[in-house]
Symmetry: C2
Subunit: 370 residues, 2 copies
Amino acid sequence: MKILFTRESMLYGLQRVEKAVASKTTLPILTGICFETLNSTKLRLIATDLEIGIECIIPCVVENHGAVVLPASMFSEIIKKLPEEEITLEVGEKNKTVITCKNSLFNIAGSSVEDFPRLPDIKEEKIIKISQGLFYDMIRQTIFAVSTDETRQILIGELFEIRNERIKLVALDGYRIAVREGRGESSLNLERDVIIPGKTLNEFAKILSPNNDEYFTVSLTENQILFDMGDTRVVSRLLHGEFVNYNQVIPKQFNTVVEVNKSSMINSIERAYLVAREGRGNNLIKLKIDDEGITITSNSDIGEVREQVKARTSGDSLMIAFNSKYLLDALKATDSEEVKMEFINEVNPCIVKPLNLNNQLNLVLPVKIR
Amino acid sequence: MKILFTRESMLYGLQRVEKAVASKTTLPILTGICFETLNSTKLRLIATDLEIGIECIIPCVVENHGAVVLPASMFSEIIKKLPEEEITLEVGEKNKTVITCKNSLFNIAGSSVEDFPRLPDIKEEKIIKISQGLFYDMIRQTIFAVSTDETRQILIGELFEIRNERIKLVALDGYRIAVREGRGESSLNLERDVIIPGKTLNEFAKILSPNNDEYFTVSLTENQILFDMGDTRVVSRLLHGEFVNYNQVIPKQFNTVVEVNKSSMINSIERAYLVAREGRGNNLIKLKIDDEGITITSNSDIGEVREQVKARTSGDSLMIAFNSKYLLDALKATDSEEVKMEFINEVNPCIVKPLNLNNQLNLVLPVKIR
């Protein structure tokens, strides 16, 4: 194998696939990246930790075809440190690899691609096209509510609902629910519910370009999902099991409704949190809602705080307590400067959503005050 | 005590004194900052960990005089989170402190200033005036060579030589020496050698403005040094003992002299370091110097590297080995795009200095190759 490529295109490819390189693993070869020539002008990079796999195709000049696995972090550091000149990579006997660039020459030990697990072949039945920017937002606005509790396997994933062109991501961890709707493009009449691991969505979000209207396609098998971005493909296992019927849990009737500026509310809770976090768990803050607006208070060993937030309130007065972090997450994820908060009473969940949009909803459970 | 101040001026003061706040300490009060009114428009902030003390005077409106100690990190986080509005701080009975700003109110527990150690009074015999930018550079170009070996107390400090208006900072750790000269302004005829703790210089450098021609003054007592910047004063203990006679160690005669571009040399060593660091200690790289220039090589378990660096060489050919980190530090500290490297043989120290300046010198010991 002998190829020539530019530093820039290799860095692009590395940055794409690095997210799937295994960090700790019982299979040392997974800490490497597989490089293989496809045709005279294309090189494929593959990395996988067996849960998620990413491949990226970059341009190169192929002088001799072949394939090799190279240690990921070492190889990327070398490429980063090389000057902006043409780089040559040549693999000899026993996978000995020589990288040359201008006045630099590296000899490093490669491994055979035979032991490298290939990404599963996914029958390319393209199910839906989604814009990168939209899916990026959908992930960002829900991922924080994914459970980190490994004992409830299904909740470390997000529900991905497909109802023809309407798509939805749902995450919940027993204390809050985050729902975000969007719209893709599809010529199929399809209803599918799959559960995607939170880690996959996290890594995929890092590859997606925010505010970019370009589409990627989603394909599904029984056990796997494929995101295809053209030069880059991300494959991940799906989680199996019954997702919580979140719709049943979301209340529809409320007794107290508040309309408030999101930034004022966030700033006040963040200040209250400085005191709340010193308390005995739960980062507890109290909200008093009445005709005057919202009064946020908290106290702990280090002192007390009181914050007044202007708000348009209607319905019953209410005193309710929250874990400030959960309320902050919900507010920060809401894509609207003005938000609506809806309450039943001090023991039932609160709903946070954009004032004038229906594509997003957050549910947060209150904390009972003794 | 009751004062009014702006968020901006308080943040300025906090940012100055925070560097002296004790992190771990047996004296809890040292994790606080002392605030005391000086006159109707000035507030003094003081922090100290007993090794280094910093005070800063900021503008404020004093309604009632007084003083209080507040927990440093808590107080600064509150100030950072408050809006850009006027802030009121009022201290009541038992040092209970109320901070108010617009719609926010914090009650926090302060401590009595009686237990707070005051900075020593230093008789203000101003010894020398130095420009901030110059001293910043002098510290930056020497501090890396300060020893971290606490068993050789004297070497965790830097020698500060004053010879009338000529000043010098010298750091050494047994493997390398860094010397930087400069010029201050003084009307006294004074020769003094003092040893300033590396930690003090490190923290002081963070307060100094790079590329700023404003002067600060240095005053000295038997045991302390005072840096006075007008609104900010930094006091530190001095180290006592005999500093190494570094002049004796610096060779004056050489057999091999190299003139080389600093960036090319740094880039090549950094690439060689990627391989060297995987070796069995010392980050070993070898330099072969001959008529062709410099060839840098290194090998370790993961592979080999060879780098060619163009250079103007004169004198004997030479093969010499170094800890790549030490050579990198010396080159990076050298303030000149073209540098001169001088060698005697493979066992004697190498000198790195700017090609056309005499204000700076680095000595690096080679590593013996078996």
